[in-house]
């Protein structure tokens, strides 16, 4: 090495530097905007109740953050939209008919315990909205699993309760699921449009994909996490999910149902809680997919996306440590050149 001409390790040109106009606030508000289609579809399918639950989550999240920061004499950061996003995601992850205290408790856990106690945005280890939901699911298991039927009427006062597709799949197998929805094409169409029971924002795959496309177009999320996540789920569902031996499963049902699309594009890709190195992100996505399918196929819960992302959140700092980034501009050394 010493004989070679010393190449500069880091090139910093003299000023002026171009100042990018991306800010945390701008990214967060764009993510909020990208969830708008999913929110509209949730109101369309589950009625004004959906808007009420989601709105309550957003309002309480923002208020908790504001009061915490004001009472600690810090600068209130509610303007950057991250508390709004946490509330929105939490709301979209709740079942339609929850009593008012569920969103409030969820927001409290998400904002205060998961985010602000760790030092605020940028330091939280776990995705706040998911911790909020996991906390609610463990604490109020009954209330958190009452799913209403999507009525597609704007005023639906007496919602009928039913099971989610994954719940049906777990209880009665795939034949039962197809029977409930008519035939297979109907099943896929309903899953794609979102006419099924489930958490508010997770049902409409098409609306979520529109939002995800916006984020990918703007470059706010990259393909690494969502695609490795989805691919792992698809392959595992195909290989292990069948009733009659290996490689007979139906990957489409698993890909379209549950909170997979919402989780893969909007929650697993959270900048703060996922690894920041590309290679690490792929490992993260594969891990999420594998744990999701393990829980869906063998576990005690019908849906595993939330737990999978949270579990991989625990591992994210470890992944980041073990997959060291290549120094910017460094060229891979060949082995024999060393010494």
């Amino acid at each position: 090495m010493a004989t070679e001409a010393k190449t500069p390790e880091l090139i910093v040109s003299v000023s002026p530097h171009v100042r990018g106009d991306e800010t945390v606030g701008r990214i967060m508000w764009t993510v909020n905007l990208s969830l708008l289609p999913a929110f509209i579809m949730s109101v369309y399918y589950f009625g004004p109740l959906a808007a009420y639950v989601t709105g309550l989550c957003i309002v309480t999240s923002v208020l908790f953050e504001h009061f915490y920061q004001v009472s600690l004499k810090k600068k209130s950061t509610i303007g950057d939209g991250s508390a709004f996003l946490t509330g929105l995601l939490l709301g979209l992850n709740l079942p339609p008919s929850v009593p008012f205290y569920i969103p409030v408790v969820g927001s409290l856990v998400a904002i205060i315990i998961t985010k602000l106690l760790f030092g605020g945005l940028g330091y939280n280890i776990f995705n706040p909205a998911l911790i909020g939901r996991a906390f609610l699911l463990i604490s109020f298991p009954k209330l958190m699993t009452i799913w209403s039927e999507p009525t597609a009427q704007f005023v639906a006062l007496d919602a009928k309760t039913t099971a989610t597709p994954l719940g049906i799949l777990k209880e009665g197998g795939i034949a039962k699921l197809v029977e409930v929805f008519g035939d297979k094409t109907d099943l896929y169409m309903n899953l794609l449009m979102g006419s099924r029971a489930g958490s508010l924002g997770e049902t409409s795959v098409i609306a979520l994909l529109i939002g995800a496309a916006l984020l990918m177009y703007r470059g706010y999320i990259t393909w690494h996490i969502p695609f490795s996540f989805l691919a792992t789920v698809g392959v595992m569902a195909w290989a292990l999910g069948g009733d009659s031996g290996f490689f007979t499963g139906d990957p489409l049902i698993h890909l379209l149902s549950g909170g997979l699309i919402l989780g893969a594009f909007f929650m697993a890709t959270d900048y703060v809680t996922c690894p920041s190195i590309r290679k690490g992100q792929i490992i993260f996505g594969i891990g999420c997919g594998a744990i999701t399918m393990m829980i869906r196929l063998k576990g005690g819960f019908p849906e595993g996306v939330m737990f999978a992302i949270l579990l991989m959140n625990c591992f994210a700092p470890l992944i980041d440590r073990s997959v060291k980034a290549r120094m910017f501009g460094a060229i891979k050394e060949k082995k024999e050149q060393k010494k």
Partner: protein, 195 residues
């Protein structure tokens, strides 16, 4: 030998019924040693080795001495004695035979004697009537699970070094919160393998 059963025992004790995150055992070492990655890794290796050997010793004593003599009611005292005697002798032997290894891992040995997982595993082996290989698988899995918990925790705590955690929560309190949140995530594994 039933390989699936052994595999399930390892996975279940390491992940699904992780001692730290589902039963909250061994927390003193867990919080004490997880401040730095280096000590966490050293502890995990030492702990797993001690775990397996002491579980094997306890199993032999339990099956061939205590059971024939009808002394099973003494198992807590006897197991504590076995662990303590083994750790102390390992400490002394290591100091003589391999001083370099002793300086790396020796500090952890004394701590391990007071750990609750190290006594929980032989007790559980005795209670569940595991045979020798099953006991070994269970001990190995528990050791790996504890090591995994330590390493995850160390990586998170090192990341939090620079975080603006409110002053009253710095250090141990925030670690307890992290452990609670990780435990929340680990509930997702519940029901995955029922033994």
């Amino acid at each position: 030998m039933d390989w699936t059963k052994l595999f399930e025992l390892v996975v279940s004790s390491a992940l699904i019924n992780n001692f730290v995150f589902t039963m909250f055992l061994g927390l003193c070492i867990f919080f004490g040693v997880s401040k730095k990655m280096e000590t966490a890794v050293g502890m995990s290796i030492t702990f797993t080795m001690v775990m397996v050997v002491s579980a094997a010793l306890s199993w032999v004593v339990y099956q061939f001495i205590m059971k024939p003599l009808d002394l099973t009611f003494l198992k807590i005292i006897v197991f504590i004695g076995i662990v303590a005697a083994f750790v102390q002798s390992a400490d002394t032997i290591m100091k003589k035979v391999s001083p370099s290894l002793y300086y790396k891992l020796g500090v952890y040995l004394a701590l391990i004697t007071t750990n609750c997982i190290i006594i929980a595993v032989p007790l559980k082996n005795a209670g569940e009537h595991y045979n020798f290989f099953e006991s070994m698988a269970f001990a190995l899995g528990s050791g790996i699970g504890f090591g995994l918990a330590l390493i995850i925790m160390a990586s998170i705590r090192e990341k939090l070094e620079v975080a603006d955690v409110p002053a009253p929560f710095r250090g141990l309190p925030i670690s307890f919160i992290i452990a609670g949140l990780i435990a929340l995530a680990f509930t997702g594994f519940s029901g995955l393998i029922t033994l």
